[in-house]
C-alpha cells in the first residue's frame, strides 16, 4: 500500500525571539538574536522571551503545577493547535496522537545547593539527606520534573487525548518523535498527531550535565559558525510544536498545509571513530530524495565539537546549499532542536522565502527564490543524527 502523504498543518513557536509565526518571521528578517551573557555568566544562554502564559494556559492552578519548561511547551502546543484550527475541537483532539520529546524539568536549585554545601562542609551525615529531601522538596515538584508530564499537561490543558508517548534522549528524541509520527501517519496507524518539545535554557541545574562534558558556551556569544576558537553551545529556550496529519484527513476538514513533511531519517553514528558524523550524514542524504543540490537546509548545529566540525565537513560537500543554523539565533534547544528546524522550514515554505542568513563567516548565503524543498538537519552534541525533507505541497 502506498504511504500516505503527511502535511504540516499547524505550527506553534515560543522562543527567545517571541511567540507566534509573525513575530518569528519579523525577527528572523531582522536577524535578531536574544542572547544573555550576564544572567548565568560566564555561560551564554538564550532566555525565553517575556510571555503571559494565560493566553494558552488560562487556569492559574494549571500554571502553578508546572515548571517553566512545561509552561513553554504547553503554551507552544496550544499555538500549534490554534494554527491548525483544531483548538477546542473535541472530536479531533480526543483521537489526536501525541509524541513529545522531553528531558527533565527544573530542580529546586536552592534545596540542592543547601544540601551540597552542607555536605561539602562535613555537615551532612548520610541520614540527613533523607530528612532534608523529605522536608524541603515541594511535593508537586516531582510532577513538574517528570519527562512525561509535559504530555500530561498538554492533555489536561488542551485535551489532546489519543495516544501519548514521550521520547527521551536529548536531540535524537525529537528526531525520532518526528520520524515515528510520520511513519505512523504514512502507514495509516494515525490520522493526526501533535509532535514537539520544550526547553528552558535559563537553568543553572541543567548546565551541570553539559559542564561535565565542557559543552556549554562560555564568555562570549558568537554565531555558531564562528565558534572555532571557543566551541560550545549556548543553551536556548523554545517550545516548538507541529500538527502533522495525513493529506486526506487535512483535506476532509478543509485545513491548509504549511508544507509537506516528506521524509524523516535518523541514525546512531558510532562516534568513537573520527568522521563518523560526516559519514552518517552522507549515508542519510540520499534517502531524503532531494531533487536539487542547491536546495536549502536548516540545521540545528550546536557549536559543540567535534560534532559541528564533522557536520561542516558534510556541508562543505554540498556547496550549493543555502544553510541556516538555528543555533546562532535561538541557541541550542536540545530536545526542541529538530521540531524548531521543522517549524522554521514549514514557515519559510509557507511564506515563499527563506529568511536571511546570519553568519559573519560566509558559510550561510542568501537565497532569493521561493523554497520548494528544505532539508532539516539535526546532529546531537553527543549522540544521534537525523534529517528531514520538508517540501511545498504540490
Amino acid at each position: 500500500m502506498a504511504e500516505k502523504e503527511v502535511w504540516i498543518t499547524g505550527v506553534g513557536l515560543l522562543t527567545s525571539l517571541g511567540e507566534g509565526l509573525d513575530a518569528h518571521w519579523e525577527a528572523l528578517g531582522e536577524r535578531r538574536v536574544n542572547a544573555d551573557d550576564k544572567r548565568l555568566a560566564p555561560y551564554v544562554i538564550h532566555p525565553i522571551a517575556p510571555v503571559s502564559f494565560d493566553a494558552q494556559i488560562p487556569k492559574k492552578g494549571d500554571q502553578r503545577q508546572m515548571e517553566t519548561w512545561q509552561r513553554i511547551g504547553t503554551y507552544a502546543a496550544g499555538l500549534a493547535l490554534d494554527s491548525a484550527g483544531v483548538k477546542g475541537n473535541q472530536e479531533i483532539l480526543s483521537r489526536m496522537d501525541m509524541i513529545i520529546a522531553a528531558g527533565g524539568g527544573e530542580r529546586d536549585l536552592n534545596v540542592d545547593l543547601a544540601i551540597m554545601n552542607a555536605d561539602a562542609q562535613g555537615k551532612l551525615p548520610p541520614a540527613v539527606l533523607n530528612e532534608k529531601l523529605m522536608n524541603e522538596l515541594r511535593p508537586t515538584l516531582f510532577l513538574a520534573q517528570l519527562s512525561n508530564l509535559l504530555a500530561g499537561n498538554i492533555a489536561i490543558v488542551h485535551g489532546v487525548c489519543g495516544t501519548s508517548r514521550t521520547f527521551m534522549g536529548e536531540e535524537a528524541s525529537s528526531i525520532d518523535a518526528a520520524r515515528i509520527a510520520v511513519a505512523r501517519i504514512g502507514a495509516g496507524q494515525s490520522d493526526i498527531a501533535l509532535v514537539g518539545a520544550a526547553h528552558n535554557g535559563d537553568r543553572g541545574d541543567l548546565l551541570m550535565l553539559y559542564s561535565f562534558g565542557d559543552f556549554a558556551l562560555k564568555d562570549q556569544y558568537a554565531s555558531v559558525w564562528a565558534r572555532r576558537n571557543n566551541p560550545g553551545f549556548a543553551i536556548g529556550s523554545a517550545g516548538a510544536f507541529l500538527v502533522m496529519e495525513s493529506r486526506e484527513h487535512a483535506e476532509a476538514r478543509g485545513a491548509k498545509p504549511y508544507a509537506r513533511l516528506t521524509k524523516v531519517v535518523a541514525d546512531l553514528a558510532k562516534r568513537k571513530a573520527p568522521g563518523a558524523v560526516t559519514k552518517s550524514l552522507q549515508s542519510m542524504w540520499p534517502q531524503l530524495g532531494v531533487s536539487n543540490d542547491s536546495a536549502m537546509l536548516i540545521t540545528g548545529a550546536t557549536g559543540a565539537e567535534p560534532a559541528t566540525a564533522e557536520e561542516r565537513e558534510f556541508l562543505g560537500q554540498h556547496p550549493g546549499l543555502a544553510v541556516r543554523a538555528t543555533g546562532t539565533t535561538f541557541g541550542h534547544t536540545m530536545e526542541a532542536q529538530f521540531p524548531l528546524g521543522l517549524a522554521l522550514a514549514a514557515l519559510s515554505i509557507s511564506r515563499g522565502a527563506l529568511y536571511p542568513a546570519n553568519d559573519p563567516t560566509g558559510l550561510e548565503v542568501e537565497k532569493t527564490e521561493a523554497p520548494t524543498q528544505i532539508v532539516v538537519l539535526g546532529v546531537g552534541h553527543w549522540q544521534g543524527e537525523g534529517m528531514a525533507l520538508v517540501e511545498a505541497v504540490k
Partner: protein, 425 residues
Amino acid sequence: MTAPRDKFGRPIVVVTGMGIVTSLGGGKADNWKRLTAGESGIKTVTRFPLDSLKTTMAGAVDFVTVDPFSSTSLSQRLAEIATEEALEQSGIGSKGDFPGPLFLAVAPIETEWPQRLEVAREVPTKDFGIIDYLATCSGGKFAHFHRRFTFGSVALSLAETFGTKGSPISLSTACASGATAIQLGVEAIRRGETDATLCIATDGSVNPEALVRFSLLSALSTQNDPPQGASKPFSKNRDGFVMAEGAGALVLESYDAAIARGARILGVVAGCGELTDSFHRTRSAPDGKPAIGCVRKTLADAGMEPEQIDHINAHGTSTPENDKMEYLATAAVFGEHTKNIPVSSNKSMVGHTISAAGAVEAIFSLLTLEHQRIPPTINYEVPDPAIPFDVVGNKARDAKVTAVMSNSFGFGGQNASLILTREPA
C-alpha cells in the same frame, strides 16, 4: 496452516524471546517458580539509611550490583541481564548483531546524589553558588558523568552492546512505559519496517530521592512491617504501592520471519491500545472513562470480543484509587463476563517496577499462557467489597487461559493495555 496475517491484514507479531529480572530473582525459571509459589520480593531497604522516611521497604534488586552505584547504571545492568536471556532464548541474529531497532522504556535520568556530592566536595569556595559549582563540574574530571547521565545514555549503551539497528528510542510513559515499548515494537513490525524489534523496559530507581518523591505524593504504602505484607492489591486495607526494580526484555518478530527461521513462538501480541486521561496529573478520572476507552481500543485492535479474554493481569498497584478505578473500568467493558475472569496482580509480590512494569507483566502473562497457571495476588486477606473481581487470592490457580489482557495505568494520564495470546487468532 495459520494465516500469516491478522484479520486486519497486518503482519502478526509474535514473541520469540523473553528475559526478566525482578526482586524475586534473575531469569524466567526462578521468577515463575517463586511467583507461582506466592513469594514476595519486597524487603526492608538496606541500600541507604532509612532515617526520616515514611516508607522503608521496596522490591530492590540487591543481588545485582554495580560499582559505582547509580540507579542509571543499575537500570542498564538489569536491562542487559534480561536482554541476554531473551536473545539466548530467541536465537535471533548473532552476538552483538540484533537485526532490528531498540525500544527502551527507562526512567527519566538525571545526575544522582552521590555524584552531585562527589563534585560538591571538590568545590574550592565555601558557601558556593551554582556558578562556582559549575566551574568544578567542567574541566574534564567529571566527563564520565555526562556520558552516564544523559537521557540517551542507557539506550546508547544497549544499542552498542546488542547491535540493534538505527536510532534507539528511549521512552517514558510513566507506569505504562513497558507496555508502550512493546506497542512501538508491534507498530514497527506491522508497518513492515522491520521483521524484528527488541523491546526492553528497565527500572533501578530505588534511591533516597525517588522514594522521597513518591512518598511526598502519598503514593507509597507505609505498612512497613512486615515488608512482604505491604503490597495488597484489591484488599480493603491497601494503602499505596511499593517501589520496585526490575527489567523485562522481549524479542518481537513477524510471524513469517519467526517461522522462516524455525523459531519457537512463545506467544502473540494480538492487540495494543492506548488512551490518555486528561483528568489530573496523578489521579485517574474517577469514572474510569479513559481506562474504559483504552481497554476497548485494545480489544478492537486485536479484533476480539470481551468474552474472549479469560484472564486479566491487572495494573493492580495497591493504591486505593487505582484498584477501584480498574475494577470500574473492567466492569464497564466486560459487563456480566467480569465475574468469569480471574484477575491477579503480580505487584503483590514483585512490587511496582514502574518503568519496567508493563514489560515485566507482559512476560508474566505469557508465562501464564505457557503454563496454564495464574500466579496469585498475595496478601489478599481482607477483600475490598467494592472490588468484586474474581481475584486469584494467595494461591496460584490452574486455569485454561487463551487470551490475557495486561493493563498499565500511570501518572500523567498514561493508559496502555496489551492482549497476549498463545496462538495467532
